[in-house]
């Protein structure tokens, strides 16, 4: 079967790859391109796109950048910072909770229990995220599960304000994103050579020292992957802040959603979408640079 010379191979491979390119092109690149173009337009009186009468004047006057300029207004920048803040705190909490969980499953649990524990981490995905977020409303609201239990136990006199604030958004986000932190870290811990941990102990390192000097550096690729997998979706999400955050907590995702629905300002929404995408792309590029720096040995 050595007919796969370079020339031959390209000819053979090309028709196999075409469907993927077609799908990507039509359903991904094309819509992206349309949104990109729309971001330079203006909305009309009834929410449609205002037709551009003078194309060159539209470009030279800088009018085509109107939406991008508007997005720099402190109001919108504030939303941007708040989104970054929420995403960062979510990622931090996921790391603080997720690492110990992954550590327990990989290194401390009995071998026959590992698969069960991993399944338990993944099982929530069998239910739609929307429904799970609604469930949190039932748990956190004034007459909800937590408040009812605490009131009945006599631990509080009045119900706590657990819903429609930043706290609820964080709960919903951390809950939803946690498996994405646990799984890459678990994978990295599984690959860890146990004898390295023994060697560290033998050389005089107490358990915490072994953790910081050996375990963490060697599982760093898993940690970074988990951070990327949690941070980026958190940045752009809108479901949790919509359902659990109330009117006070409007994030970038909600802003974009609003522009495309109630505010009927598709161009402005498009512009903000692209700004968000630019931020995410920059972070992904940073991650790729980090991964390459490891001499191409980062496998996760």
């Amino acid at each position: 079967m050595n007919r796969l010379t370079t020339n031959n191979r390209n000819k053979t491979v090309w028709p196999l790859v075409m469907p993927t390119w077609l799908v990507l092109g039509v359903f991904f690149l094309l819509p992206l391109g349309i949104v990109f173009v729309v971001s330079f337009a203006q909305r009309g009186a009834y929410g449609e796109l205002k037709p551009v009468t003078d194309f060159w004047q539209h470009l030279s006057s800088g009018e085509f950048l109107a939406n991008y300029g508007r997005s720099l207004d402190p109001l919108y920048l504030g939303i941007g910072w708040r989104s970054l803040w929420i995403a960062t705190v979510t990622t931090g909490l996921c790391l603080l909770i997720g690492y110990p969980v992954a550590y327990y499953i990989a290194l401390l649990a009995r071998p026959h229990r590992k698969n069960l524990l991993l399944a338990l981490v993944v099982v929530p995905f069998w239910t739609s995220f929307l429904i799970r977020t609604y469930a949190w409303m039932l748990i956190l609201r004034t007459e909800g599960l937590v408040n009812t239990l605490l009131l009945q136990a006599g631990l509080i006199g009045e119900p706590l304000d657990l819903l429609y604030n930043e706290f609820a958004v964080l709960v919903g986000l951390v809950y939803g994103e946690l498996p994405f932190m646990v799984l890459p870290i678990y994978a990295a811990l599984e690959k860890l050579d146990r004898s390295l941990l023994e060697a560290s102990t033998d050389l005089g390192a107490p358990p915490w020292s072994t953790f910081w000097r050996v375990t963490v550096p060697l599982t760093m690729p898993g940690i970074v992957a988990g951070v990327v997998l949690v941070f980026i979706p958190s940045l752009g999400q809108f479901i949790v802040s919509d359902l659990l955050g109330g009117s006070k907590s409007i994030l970038v995702g909600n802003l974009i959603q609003n522009q495309f629905t109630v505010a009927r300002n598709k161009p402005f929404g498009a512009a903000i979408s692209f700004e968000l995408m630019a931020v995410v792309l920059a972070m992904l590029l940073a991650y790729t640079w980090y991964a390459k720096r490891g001499g191409g040995n980062r496998e996760i």
Binding site: L196, A199, T201, L203, G204, L218
Partner: protein, 335 residues
């Protein structure tokens, strides 16, 4: 000044129902090179790991230099272990690997640097400080593992099949080097191996283990020349079992001779020659007695070839030995 570096007192280790180590008592003498020798699964590695602190005995105590360390974790014991596959930290350089444990010892930065230099010089790796483990050969990795352990000046150095992953030539070199190193440093070395030749080359004392027990322990030459149980005899290559009279005995292959005619001065047995294996330095003969017992004879090839032609496969000959070379066997373990 304790005479014994390591004392294992009636130690048992059970994994579930199975006893990997069964009531083993052992004394490793200070400043000596000792070996735990035995086939896979005999419990030698488990025993070593218990001395290092990675396993806790189910029963019994472990005492190192007079201190009962049974309940101490590895990082509080005066031992260091050289792992079978070296366990070098891949994210650290050679120098950082060697320096790893020094952080837990009180010493000035300058002392640390010179300690690292000395340790690397000891294992002949000066100049490789900035290399990473994946840039080293097997032999070099082994030396780094050694340096990393020795720089901490342990009271007992433990080695888990240290030469297993090396090729023949490198192995022999390292055997000699390790022996010299131990003599130079004067600290107690205890290593685990399944290779009896290696054990003999390096150690002063050997403990032969089988199925979780120590069958025989003593000076290397003693264990080699005078095995006391069937298992030890077989393991040390002396599986020539004679059941002529009441007390069974063995004679080592190199103490046996083949003659055409029955000599008057030596004990002898009539045998048929079954096989002849030329091994360069020696020739090994496999012979069979009338009762069907097989014996192995090992003779150095210093006789001219002309004589050999008399001993052909199928011919009868006389297996001869000096009575003083008979070693009586006792059944059961001894220490």
């Amino acid at each position: 000044m304790h005479e014994n570096s390591v004392e294992v007192r009636s130690v048992t280790k059970r994994f579930g129902e199975v006893a990997a180590v069964h009531e083993v008592s052992l004394r490793v003498r200070r400043g000596e090179f000792s070996a735990l020798l035995g086939p896979s699964g005999c419990g030698k590695t488990t025993l070593l790991r218990m001395i290092a602190g990675f396993e806790t005995p189910t029963n019994g105590r472990i005492v190192i230099h007079g201190e009962d360390v049974t309940d101490l974790p590895p990082y509080r014991r005066p031992t260091n272990l050289v792992f079978q596959h070296y366990a070098l930290f891949p994210h650290l350089t050679v120098a950082e690997n060697v320096a790893f444990g020094l952080r837990y010892k009180q010493s000035a930065a300058g002392d640390r640097r010179s300690a690292i230099q000395q340790a690397l010089a000891l294992v002949k790796l000066t100049g490789l400080e900035t290399r990473r483990p994946d840039q080293l050969s097997g032999g070099q990795k082994q030396r780094v593992a050694l340096a990393r352990a020795l720089v901490l000046e342990p009271q007992v150095l433990l080695l888990d099949e240290p030469l297993g992953a090396l090729d023949q030539k490198l192995r022999r070199e390292m055997q000699v080097e390790l022996k010299a190193l131990q003599r130079q440093l004067g600290i107690t070395f205890l290593f685990v191996t399944h290779d009896q030749e290696e054990a003999l080359t390096m150690s002063d004392r050997i403990a032969v283990m089988n199925a979780g027990r120590v069958e025989q322990a003593g000076a290397a030459a003693e264990v080699f020349e005078r095995p006391r149980t069937r298992f030890v005899a077989e393991f040390m290559g002396a599986a020539n079992f004679f059941n002529l009279d009441a007390a069974p005995f063995i004679v080592r292959p190199e103490k046996l001779d083949l003659h055409l005619h029955q000599p008057s001065t030596k004990a002898s047995l009539e045998v048929t020659i079954c096989e002849r294996v030329y091994q360069g330095i020696n020739t090994v003969w496999i012979v069979e007695s009338a009762r069907g017992e097989r014996f192995t004879v090992c003779e150095q090839n210093d006789r001219p070839f002309a004589d050999e032609s008399n001993f052909q496969v199928g011919r009868k000959a006389f297996l001869c030995w000096d009575a003083k070379h008979q070693v009586a066997l006792t059944e059961g373990s001894s220490s």
